[in-house]
Amino acid sequence: MRRMIVVGRPNVGKTLFCLSFAEFLGMQSVNMNFVSCDRGCTSRTISLSEAKTLLAGQREHQTLDLQSMILTLPWGKGRKQFELIDTTGLADSIDFEPHIRKAMAHTLQCMRQADVIFHILDCSQVARLGFLKGIGEIDCQIAEFGQLKKGYVILANKIDLPYAAEGLERIIMEFPGHKVIGISALTKSGFKEVKEIARKFV
């Protein structure tokens, strides 16, 4: 089973993307594994609408565990499964909270082992703050790192916000040679393309 990991800076919408994507694939509820870096692993089945209110939100570093779920894609006449892993946001600075640092280290570890990386950027922020501020060094490093992988895709999130289209254009310009898809985790636009990509690597 392929492991696809969702990474990005804090608060770009990684968790919401994961949950919406699961919803897009026709799931009503998912069995989610919460793998914590020090407290072991818990698993619970949770309905997607509940998960959205519970797990996704405005705060930074809301996700501190790796949250993985098994999703299925139609494949030929049957179906194929893959694991989608939601991670802690990777920040540029060194966080003073040890548990956040630990969670980031855990994310890095998981990134090394994953087959496919979905790298989420916030294109509304690029439009608002300009490329250099909207995209950190961390994003460039992730993009470089992604070249070692079988699959690496940039998902420019929050395309539904005003001026986000400009941000998307800028991102496409700045990451030549990488596949960039504009999506909205909220409205599920662009998800069809993501699904195609997932089918390619699954």
């Binding site: 640092r101 280290a105 890095l108 570890q109 950190g136 961390i138 460039c140 470089e144 790192f145 992988k149």
Partner: protein
């Protein structure tokens, strides 16, 4: 190494982006999973190449067996289990044109990818390359060839000719040198003795020590008529030619006839190649005087092109 980098992030010694660039530099993007599929894919590609050869079912099966054996011995060694030393010296027996050299070449690539051999190249030699005219030079000359083949495969065609000259022949010296070297360099040299079936059997009978030193014996069966026909079709396809309906019937009949009449001297796939190449020349002669041959005409081999083709 990558472990340490991740611990450094945990301890707040480096930022995540620094850690990522370090991880990338270490080339540990994903140390285990990254290398494994690449290697497996390459091996699969080589086996695909082997599978694309027409016929040769028993040969393919045996090579699969060998590959699995080597793989498992390597894995056992990784777990510190007793692993048999891998001795891959082999004997290829088969009539001319049954694919001995082709298979040897693929095996070289396979062993290279599996890490048995360092270079995996094929050095093809025959008696004249190993045996010299004067006393004392044979060992030198043989050793020279062995040195060239080191890290790859030494493929000795018509190996029985080394033992043909009788008691005083230098061929014996060459055999001794080869046997000595292949025992010494067991891990980095594979010697393949190839030749036609009947003389090869005699050769092994008269040199009883050899059979135990070459544990793998691969027999290349003669191709069946239909296999030969498919080989011909494949050759034509590679060259972008096509047989017309009449030509197909004719070719089948020709192969049938050849197999029936001179089964001893029949060159199998090699004869087929000669037939095809001759037919292509005939077709060229037929078309050269046409004003503007169409694409279809340029591709088609007609029955008349196959007419006088005969192996000589």
């Amino acid at each position: 190494m990558s472990r340490e980098i991740i611990t450094m992030v945990e301890n707040g010694e480096v930022t995540v982006s620094e850690a990522l660039s370090l991880l990338r530099k270490v080339g540990m993007g994903s140390d285990q999973p990254k290398q494994e599929p690449a290697r497996n894919e390459r091996i699969a590609a080589i086996k695909q190449q082997l599978d694309s050869l027409i016929g040769l079912h028993s040969v393919k099966e045996l090579i699969n067996e060998i590959q699995a054996f080597v793989e498992i011995q390597q894995r056992r060694a990784a777990f510190n289990l007793a692993a048999d030393p891998i001795v891959l010296h082999s004997i290829f027996m088969g009539n001319p044109g049954t694919g001995k050299t082709t298979v040897a070449r693929i095996i070289g690539q396979l062993f290279l990818e599996m890490g048995v051999l360092q270079k995996g190249h094929l050095v093809e030699v025959e008696r004249a390359d190993l045996v010299a005219e004067y006393i004392g030079q044979t060992a030198q000359r043989t050793r020279e060839q062995l040195r060239r083949a080191s890290g790859g495969i030494l493929f000795i065609d018509e190996a029985y000719s080394l033992a043909r000259g009788g008691e005083k022949d230098f061929g014996k010296e060459a055999i001794d040198t080869i046997v000595k070297t292949m025992e010494d360099q067991r891990s980095n040299l594979v010697v393949i003795l190839a030749g036609y079936s009947a003389p090869m059997e005699d050769f092994l009978e008269t040199n009883p020590g050899l059979r135990s030193r070459f544990p793998i014996i691969i027999r290349f069966p003669d191709y069946t008529t239909f296999e030969l026909f498919r080989i011909a079709e494949q050759m034509l396809q590679q060259r972008e030619y096509q047989l017309s309906k009449a030509a197909r019937r004719k070719l089948l009949a020709m192969i049938e006839e050849l197999k029936r009449t001179d089964s001893v001297n029949f060159g199998n796939a090699r004869t087929i190649r000669n037939i095809i190449e001759k037919a292509i020349r005939k077709q060229a002669v037929r078309l050269v005087n046409l004003n503007s041959p169409t694409r279809a005409q340029l591709m088609e081999i007609a029955a008349e092109d196959l007419q006088e083709v005969r192996d000589d």
